[in-house]
């Protein structure tokens, strides 16, 4: 096992509870695994309560209820109430689908702290196309209700080639809806997004134009709406400090109870990710092979091993290294020091060629039918 030095294990701070892979939307950049249909089992209410309680005891304080669509769980309000009793700060990460005013009030009373709602585009036509369902108007209504009932609201818009030209309208929409935070999440190319990358990855010029517009707006709405900009790492020359370092901060629990150091880690070979039905969170976090795999720096290869930035970005993303290089120990190919950087450039060029051509590549939507092919 790589990096089994247990001396510097910090406790988890962030628990992402993926309650269900069920989702009425079909976004073609979904971060759920391609083969999610293989994992239809979901933890029981009691399992989730045990997980919440054990992780809280270790020091987890930020809690995300996510999915799939977390609202598909009938026990959501009960879990929110339990989380509040334990002292978590609870974030509901939702498409808004199925959220009614009654539910918004009920969740507030149970102790939910914040709602993050996704909107796919600034127009109904594009939103409904990307989401694969007619949800635009409902999302607008729900966003207003979230603010009406005093929640802080994050509006999350995933940015890609089909909607990046709407940047000015997206910013205006967020301001008009009273969002406290706008998350402009440039698509991260894993799972479904990786599959659809040629059709989703914007060109460098598109990114630069959109970023300029977002930066200018940031100043305009300073003190009123905060803008988080998730950087498009393909266009950077250093990798992201993925998950703030493996097994240092983030703990994801998948719907079936599999514990993951990041929500894509399931794609990595040979990790044998533990399940919360078999082990306590403390055992998983401190002792499991999975969570110790990439802790520290012992596992690194060159150029990371001798790099003076290795404690800054931890070698980047293990899943990205695996996706591009077939070697999860290698340097994230985004890094200009990586001998495999040309693979990122090839991906950029491949998407660019499609973008500048007359050809169309149909998006593969995230749904059970498509998932069953993986």
């Amino acid at each position: 096992m790589a990096g089994s030095d247990k001396l510097n294990i910090t406790p988890p701070r962030w628990l992402l509870a993926e309650l269900s892979y069920k989702c009425p939307l079909q976004c073609p950049y979904c971060s759920n695994p391609l083969d999610y249909a293989k994992y239809p089992n979901e933890l029981s209410t009691e399992d989730w309560k045990r997980v919440l309680s054990q992780a809280r005891k270790m020091g987890a304080v930020q809690l995300g209820f996510s999915g799939g669509e977390p609202l598909t769980r009938q026990d959501l309000t009960e879990l929110v109430g339990y989380a509040r009793e334990l002292g978590y700060y609870s974030n509901l990460i939702t498409s808004g689908y199925g959220l009614t005013e009654e539910k918004i009030v009920e969740l507030k009373q149970a102790g939910l702290d914040h709602i993050q709602i996704s909107i796919q585009a600034s127009t109904q036509e594009l939103n409904d196309h990307i989401a694969g369902t007619a949800t635009y108007q409902h999302k607008q209504d729900v966003a207003k209700l979230i603010k009406k009932h005093g929640y802080p609201m994050v509006l999350c818009v995933v940015i890609h080639r089909e909607n990046i030209h709407q940047m000015p309208q997206i910013l205006e929409m967020a301001e008009n809806l009273g969002a406290d935070y706008l998350e402009l999440a440039n698509t991260q190319y894993y799972g479904w997004a990786h599959l659809n990358r040629d059709a989703l990855l914007p060109t460098l010029e598109q990114f630069q134009e959109a970023e300029k517009i977002a930066q200018a707006y940031k100043e305009k709405v300073a003190g009123k709406m905060k803008i988080y900009y998730v950087v498009p790492d393909y266009y950077e020359d250093r990798p992201k400090a993925c998950m703030n370092g493996w097994g240092t901060t983030f703990l994801t629990i998948a719907p079936d109870g599999t514990a993951l150091p990041c929500h894509s880690a399931r794609e990595l070979p040979g990790l044998d990710c533990p399940n919360v039905k078999d082990f306590s969170i403390a055992e998983i976090w401190n002792e499991s092979k999975t969570f110790n795999f990439f802790r520290g720096t012992e596992w690194m290869q060159e150029p990371c091993r001798s790099c003076d930035e290795k404690l800054k970005d931890f070698g980047g993303c293990r899943c990205q290294a695996f996706l591009f290089n077939g070697d999860m120990y290698s340097t994230d190919p985004v890094c200009s020091k990586s001998p495999e950087r040309h693979r990122i450039d090839a991906a950029i060029n491949s998407a660019r060629e499609l973008a500048l051509s007359d050809r169309e590549k149909p998006l593969i939507f995230r749904n059970s039918k498509n998932s069953k092919q993986f």
Binding site: V61, Q62, G87, Y181
Partner: protein, 90 residues
């Protein structure tokens, strides 16, 4: 954006101030984020409950810690807190 002396100071309803046993410190919680506070910052923010003016907060803390001359430090911190949206004035 700076603190107005004759307006009450309230902790933001969009943030939460909470003692964290595991970390042995106060933290500010907000959507998907957390700020860890040192003891003096936490003492100041605990008094931002909508019932006190700047001068009253200074007076209470000077009395509690049996010291004087805290006005500048507290004002500077509260200005930062206001700019970060942790507190508000009516």
């Amino acid at each position: 954006m700076t603190i107005t002396p004759d307006q009450l100071i309230q902790f933001s309803p969009l943030h939460r101030l909470q003692w964290e046993e595991a970390q042995q410190k106060y933290v500010i919680l907000y959507p998907e984020g957390m700020v860890e506070l040192n003891q003096s910052s936490a003492e100041i923010l605990k008094l931002c409950d909508g019932s006190r003016l700047l001068a009253q907060i200074v007076a209470e803390l000077e009395e509690k810690f049996a010291t004087s001359g805290l006005t500048n430090d507290i004002t500077n911190f509260l200005n930062v807190a206001l700019q970060n949206g942790w507190i508000r004035q009516a």
